[in-house]
Symmetry: C2
């Protein structure tokens, strides 16, 4: 199958994973959320090789998660900024952070909700009743198409 084929399933999770489910992409995103914008800074802070960084940044720009912008014309200098689409990946990074804090220990960032001024760790909630949500609190139902797709895969194998 190969990683590229993840994009061809109907499952949005797979399709996202094809784009951002890569350690370096995630590191780049973490950096971007910390305010990093420049090639060399991404490189130093993530430790990725320049070759790969270059590739990943290109991909991220193609996917419109980042936007490459000249901040200086002479000499030409570029920076990478999160787009709205990219900024929307914030919950992914926060979810990783929360898990890391809980299960691996270490606390390197404190988050403050600007609205109410309190220090906190964001939580997944039900938008309707506001209750905090865990895996056990939610029931997932698959769409008929997705069920069919999964069944086909099961049969195609046997």
């Amino acid at each position: 199958m190969g990683r590229a084929d993840l994009a061809n399933t109907s499952c949005p999770v797979s399709r996202v994973i094809e784009r951002v489910g890569d350690p370096w992409v995630l590191m780049i995103l973490r950096e971007a959320f910390l305010g990093t914008r420049r090639f060399d800074d991404f490189q130093v802070q993530t430790g990725v090789s320049p070759h790969l960084l270059s590739q990943r940044l290109k991909q991220l720009c193609e996917d419109e998660i980042l936007q490459r912008r000249a901040y200086n014309a002479h000499p030409p200098r570029y920076e990478y900024l999160l787009t709205d689409k990219g900024r929307d990946l914030w919950p992914v990074i926060i979810a990783l952070r929360n898990w890391g804090q809980t299960w691996l220990g270490g606390k390197t960032t404190t988050l403050t909700h600007k609205g109410c001024g309190v220090q906190m760790d964001p939580v997944m909630c039900c938008p309707d009743c506001g209750a905090p949500l865990g895996a056990r609190d939610v029931q997932a139902d698959l769409s008929p198409d997705f069920e069919k797709e999964r069944k086909t895969r099961r049969e195609g194998k046997g």
Copy 2:
């Protein structure tokens, strides 16, 4: 640096990424949350090669994200179950799902909050005031240690 060195930083995000920031690990987790437990099912549904699947499952068990359990003694048959630690990764998968739905389209799962019976998409919220949270609503402050670590990296380069 190499991917393995991500574990050596003080940032919990990097350390999590070292463990779960891999496309196949994420796919395995998605499957696990959909109820998949067996080797061949993981293989068919994720499309990963058996070799890699075997490696990844081993890693995930070492990290106590999954638990390998015999469900049949003769012949010996095993299944892989999420541990509490693993189940706590649910927000990561949900965050990916939400982004995929919003930005890539396609809806393969409907989520229902068992508590209030409503269909919804979970949202990151402030646990204190309950407001939904985006990247712009939260201020991140780095710990002095983390600041120092980042500064060292910057200087070590120049």
